[in-house]
């Protein structure tokens, strides 16, 4: 049988081996398309060696010909053989995206906040660029939608502001950072007094708490015993300059009052904050972000919460 087959394909050579006496292997030529592909890739490789950095020679390497990248650094033109770092510099300076962004950036830099907020075109730019900036720099704490984390990081998506919600205030917060500090009253108040003050605080936002507690709590809040009014004011409306919360609006960022259904739980939540104090830090972004980026973010954050 094998003999018959060999005769049929007699034109094809065998490799010359023979196993078990008669098992042989055909030596078929490579398909022509494959062979041409192979030759073409050889030619391509040689051209590549000439044009791009390729062969190591001693402590250096062949840098490639006819393929320099020219870009500007500090007003001085530089030329360097092909490499990805130079390509990046060029792309960041002259790429389509870079030029488009630059054009809008200049426009935004020259405009004041009122102009930016009034111009739909500039606002569209602010939203598209700043979404990334916010996601990368702010969202880790404040959440990608700006909703914050109860007790830790303030909500930027509502219209309640501790440090002021005008674009200028937000810019100041971003530029210089903020330290949200309230001392703990664990040593000043005993548990009963904590209860009274917490009740008074909750009464400010219309919660139903025992009147006698509220009366005693008010004494501590507005008197020298607690001194709460230094920062929160006697009316409990808070001070922008201190970043102290408005206690009358039933918006809570540290004590999770909304998360509690029973009044006892709400009192406990407020008590805990009074007992332990607050120590929150918003870092400064000066130096990490440039002036224009802070400007864009100020507008974006202002938009998020429907600022003041």
């Amino acid at each position: 049988m094998s003999e018959a087959k060999t005769k049929q394909q007699g034109a094809v050579q065998t490799t010359g081996h023979a196993w078990d006496g008669d098992i042989q292997e055909f030596n078929n030529p490579l398909p022509r398309w494959w062979l041409w592909g192979f030759y073409a890739s050889v030619v391509f490789a040689v051209l590549y060696w000439v044009v791009y950095p390729a062969w190591p020679i001693g402590k250096g390497y062949t840098t490639g010909l006819f393929n320099n990248i020219t870009y500007t650094v500090n007003g001085e033109e530089r030329s360097r053989h092909w490499n990805t770092r130079s390509l990046l510099i060029k792309d960041m300076q002259e790429g389509d995206e870079a030029l488009k962004t630059k054009e809008y950036m200049q426009k935004v830099a020259a405009a004041d906040y009122q102009q930016i907020l009034a111009d739909p075109d500039m606002m569209a730019f602010v939203r598209s660029v700043t979404k990334g900036l916010f996601g990368d720099n702010c969202a880790a704490c404040h959440g990608s939608g700006g909703a914050g984390v109860m007790g830790l990081f303030p909500n930027l998506a509502d219209d309640d502001w501790l440090w002021g919600g005008s674009v200028e205030d937000i810019q100041a917060t971003l530029t210089h950072g903020r330290v949200g500090y309230m001392p703990g009253f664990a040593r000043t108040f005993n548990d009963e007094q904590l209860d009274d003050v917490a009740s008074f605080v909750l009464s400010l936002s219309g919660h139903d708490v025992p009147a006698d507690k509220v009366a005693r709590g008010k004494q501590l809040f507005t008197g020298e015993g607690g001194g709460c009014y230094y920062c929160h004011t006697a009316a409990g409306t808070g001070l922008k300059s201190q970043g102290s919360a408005n206690l009358t609006d039933n918006i809570w960022t540290i004590a999770d009052v909304q998360g509690q259904t029973e009044i006892a739980g709400k009192v406990d939540a407020v008590k805990n904050v009074i007992r332990n104090g607050v120590n929150r830090v918003m870092p400064t972004w000066q130096g990490r972000l440039d002036e224009n980026q802070i400007k864009l973010l100020s507008v974006y954050v202002h938009e998020l919460g429907g600022g003041q």
Partner: protein, 245 residues
């Protein structure tokens, strides 16, 4: 003796040996020259070996398999530069054994995560990622709050020293480090005082928010807060690092 292909084909040992030679050629011609080409590692100030605490943090980073989802390699592309910062330099991983470049980004790149978030954020995030990032799919690592084992830190440094990382044991090595990295850094690279400096750094940095305990969290956060912060890029102009390629 005339060479016959048949002698390779019928000798499995020879076939294996020669196959290995052939397939290693591709790797060798690409990797070996990098050891002696001048420009491979950039001339840059500030890169130093890890302090004992950071080193323990890096060990925990590896133990927990962080590298499986997080790369530490910012490539020179526009989108990466905008998101993560300056592209990574070879010089920045010169004391990493093994390097943590990674090849998979399920989570974000961490090459420049240092100083980006607060210590409190890292602690909250590592303990329960969804407490601060609701959409995160990262698992929590609450057991990092357990005490840090660091009795063997000097041995770990010796092992790295063996691979060429300049931790110091003799006065001579210490002096060389002072000249190279400055007094402060050189003190921390001293193997003989490793444990003391580890405790000191954890105390001073208060990475896990509790000075009374020395936890694995302290070490890991110390490591993360250092990543990508050693080189002061404002000292170099935009084109400087392109000169090394």
């Amino acid at each position: 003796m005339k060479f016959k292909h048949e002698s390779i084909e019928i000798n499995a040992g020879l076939l294996i040996a020669l196959t290995m030679v052939v397939i290693s050629i591709g790797g060798l011609v690409e990797i070996v020259p990098l050891y002696y080409i001048n420009d491979t590692v950039e001339q840059v100030d500030g890169v130093r070996p890890y302090t004992p605490l950071e080193l323990r943090g890096r060990d925990i980073y590896q133990r927990e398999g962080c590298y499986l989802c997080h790369s530490q390699m910012i490539r020179p592309f526009r989108d990466e530069m905008l998101r993560y910062g300056h592209y990574s330099l070879a010089a920045e991983s010169q004391y990493d054994h093994p390097f943590q470049w990674g090849s998979k980004r399920t989570g974000p790149d961490l090459a420049r995560v240092g100083k980006k978030y607060s210590n409190e954020w890292h602690v909250a995030h590592l303990t329960d990622p969804r407490a601060v990032v609701p959409e995160s799919i990262m698992p929590g690592y609450p057991w990092l709050m357990e005490p840090l084992q660091y009795a063997d830190v000097a041995d770990r440094m010796r092992a790295l020293k063996f691979t060429g990382v300049p931790y110091s044991e003799t006065q001579q090595e210490y002096d060389a480090n002072v000249a190279k990295f400055g007094q402060d850094a050189a003190d921390k690279l001293n193997i003989l005082r490793a444990e003391r400096h580890l405790v000191q750094q954890a105390q001073a940095g208060n990475y896990d928010g509790d000075r009374s305990r020395l936890t694995e969290m302290d070490a890991l956060v110390a490591y993360l807060q250092m990543l990508g912060t050693m080189v002061d890029f404002s000292k170099y102009d935009e084109g400087y690092f392109a000169e090394f390629r």
